[in-house]
């Protein structure tokens, strides 16, 4: 009997990680969703761009006022020049060149190089901040569900307070007070963005706690740590993957929004910072505001597609 229970606890307790068959099954289900496949493809492209890209493009910080406001390839822009001696206004047409395929900004910096370096920033911010948030959220959620009683109460009231706190305002406040360095911004987003995860993981763990295999494991004398790490956490992994994928866009957007309102790290060219500069030169160089926004939009879209696809794939009730 005991051997059978042990066997059961072992088998059911490892649903996703370390189970090849299940991973290939979920992958098969995800693959059927075309939008999710687009999401994966774009994210892979972005990772490639962020890792390899900066070595192939020119220096994104190189200023060249001779070549300012060059339009992207295939576009022309009208440049007006006022001659003080002749009191005349001459307009010249400038065409985009292949040297700067995406054009240049008002300081003559290459847009392609800046977009590529922005990809690296956005990915790093998205992955690290989400990692921190998910870690804290999972720990608090599982502890809260497993310990119950007053510990659960304290943790959940704390979560309530954090949840009610206007997230973006808190971010603006903290970053303004302690200075805009990228590492700090990532840390703050991670430390404030875990509330939703904690709630979801808690409710999922609560229902797992009463399941037979957990009761069996405890009846067999498994320690709290063992139950948490071998039975509870492996079983919420699929939920964690979905939450992580769906919270990355929010994190990337938060960083971009911060940069957009002038609280970004001025030493790192992120999409939000380019966008902020582009906002002020809409009439002379529209592409400076358009290009980083398109990248931001596609990135967020890709993660949303993938997250949605994964959620459907993990959901046994949905037929994909």
């Amino acid at each position: 009997m005991i051997e059978r229970l042990q066997h059961m606890a072992k088998k059911v307790g490892r649903p996703l990680y370390g189970n090849r068959r299940l991973i290939s099954y979920y992958w098969e289900r995800t693959r059927r969703n075309k939008l999710a496949v687009f999401g994966i493809a774009f994210i892979l492209f972005l990772i490639l761009l962020g890792v390899v890209g900066p070595f192939c493009t020119m220096d994104p910080t190189m200023v060249d006022f001779e070549k300012k406001n060059l339009p992207p390839v295939g576009f022309t822009a009208v440049k007006s020049l006022y001659h003080i001696e002749t009191d005349e206004l001459t307009t010249t047409e400038i065409h985009g060149t292949w040297k700067h395929p995406l054009g240049t900004d008002s300081k003559g910096r290459d847009m392609l190089a800046m977009i590529v370096s922005g990809a690296r920033v956005s990915l790093l911010v998205g992955l690290i901040a989400t990692g921190i948030a998910i870690l804290i959220g999972t720990v608090i959620g599982v502890l809260s569900a497993y310990l119950g009683g007053w510990a659960d109460n304290v943790l959940m009231r704390f979560t309530d307070i954090m949840m009610t706190f206007p997230f973006f305002l808190l971010l603006v406040l903290i970053v303004f007070i302690f200075g805009p360095s990228l590492a700090f911004i990532v840390l703050v987003i991670g430390l404030t963005g875990w509330t939703g995860t904690a709630r979801l993981i808690r409710s999922e763990s609560l229902s797992l706690r009463t399941r037979e295999f957990v009761i069996a494991a405890r009846a067999l004398g498994a320690s709290d740590g063992r139950v948490i790490f071998r039975h509870l956490i492996p079983n919420v992994i699929s939920l964690i993957i979905v939450i992580a994928t769906l919270s990355i866009p929010g994190v990337i957007l938060a960083e971009a929004a911060l940069s957009f309102i002038g609280l970004g790290d001025p030493t790192v060219p992120s999409w939000g910072i380019i966008l902020e500069a582009g906002q002020h030169s809409l009439d002379t160089a529209w592409w400076v505001a358009v290009e980083p926004g398109i990248m931001l939009f596609l990135t967020v879209l890709a993660f949303n597609f993938l997250g949605d696809g994964l959620r459907d794939a993990f959901d046994p009730k949905s037929n994909v």
């Binding site: 009610t164 206007p166 973006f168 603006v172 903290i174 303004f176 966008l275 009439d283 967020v300 597609f305």
Partner: protein, 325 residues
């Protein structure tokens, strides 16, 4: 008599709301005052520019506003004032905070109200249609565009709308004109782009929520019964399915509203230069004007808590089976 338990519940929730609001005010206060800069810095810059002796003046100003006292005394004073309904004095605009709020809340309110109406109306209709026509081309298109809508960074959307409709086409002004009377057609026109900016994301969210809430109910037994009775499809969808979909829908819409007050609206106001609460709190942060920052945070927090409470009470009317005792 039926809802006598509801009163106790509301009182309990209000007490809870006050405690949370207190915690948030305290955190905000400490955060703002713990920073290295002081509201007197603004005067300092002006004084140095005109060649006056700075050190004495800063001391005078700090003494005048009680900024030289230890932070816990300042906190105690602030809380006592708050308890008496006094929100303090705004350093950067030189007026009582309450007057500042009175002058500016309407700009946020009109933006959020119009965006919500636009988003809820269009979003719910499209969502219902999409669910009823599940797996048709219309449904796929609606689903795809709802993804696009939730993924569009709203501040970028605002900049793009300005680029296309104001800079290129010249249909609208590039900024929000505050001289317009509030209840005029011109003001409504000035709000078109901001409402589209804030409303698009909300709308896309509502399409998704409505669609999934409708789908949850469409295959239930009572729907088949209603159809079997020979009820017209309109009645089945409108009265039977939608009514039941309303409950989860209200939850999520209200929850969304709470997060929108401080997220989307905040950025929309900054993009278009609308002088709402988001904009003044933003300016106040940069000016170290802590009474304004704390007051706006407090109001936002209280609104969110109030909306949550109203949602929970609304449940008991939408679904009389729900009890909280």
């Amino acid at each position: 008599m039926r809802k006598s338990w509801l009163r106790d519940y509301i009182i309990k929730r209000l007490i809870y709301a006050v405690i949370i609001a207190w915690a948030i005010v305290t955190i905000t206060f400490v955060l703002v005052r713990a920073g290295p800069s002081s509201p007197a810095d603004r005067y300092l810059a002006n004084m140095t520019a005109s060649g006056q002796d700075v050190s004495q003046i800063v001391e005078a100003i700090e003494a005048r506003y009680g900024l030289d006292k230890p932070i816990y005394e300042q906190y105690a004073e602030y809380m006592v004032n708050l308890f008496h309904g006094n929100l303090g004095w705004s350093f950067s605009t030189s007026m009582p905070v309450i007057d500042l709020l009175k002058n500016h809340w309407i700009y946020s309110f009109q933006l959020i109200l119009l965006s919500s109406i636009f988003a809820a109306f269009v979003g719910i209709l499209v969502g219902i249609y999409s669910a009823v026509k599940q797996y048709t081309k219309t449904d796929y298109i609606a689903t795809f565009f709802s993804f696009v809508g939730i993924s569009l960074p709203n501040f970028w959307l605002g900049v793009m709308l300005i680029l296309v409709f104001s800079v290129k086409l010249g249909l609208f002004k590039t900024y929000y004109d505050t001289t317009l009377p509030l209840f005029s057609l011109d003001n409504l026109k000035a709000l078109v782009l901001p409402v589209m900016t804030l409303g698009t994301g909300m709308l896309a969210g509502y399409v998704r929520y409505t669609r999934s809430a409708m789908l949850d109910n469409l295959r239930k037994g009572f729907v088949t019964t209603a159809r079997a009775k020979g009820l017209p499809e309109r009645t089945v969808i409108g009265k039977h399915v939608f009514r039941n979909a309303l409950l989860p829908l209200v939850t999520i819409i209200m929850f969304d509203l709470g997060s929108i007050v401080f997220g989307g609206a905040y950025l929309t106001e900054i993009v278009f230069g609308i002088p709402g609460l988001g904009q003044i709190s933003f300016n106040a942060i940069f000016a170290n004007d802590y009474p304004v920052v704390v007051a706006v945070t407090l109001i936002g927090t209280f609104l969110v808590l109030l909306i949550n409470l109203i949602t929970d009470i609304a449940y008991t009317y939408l679904d009389p089976r729900i009890r909280y005792d």
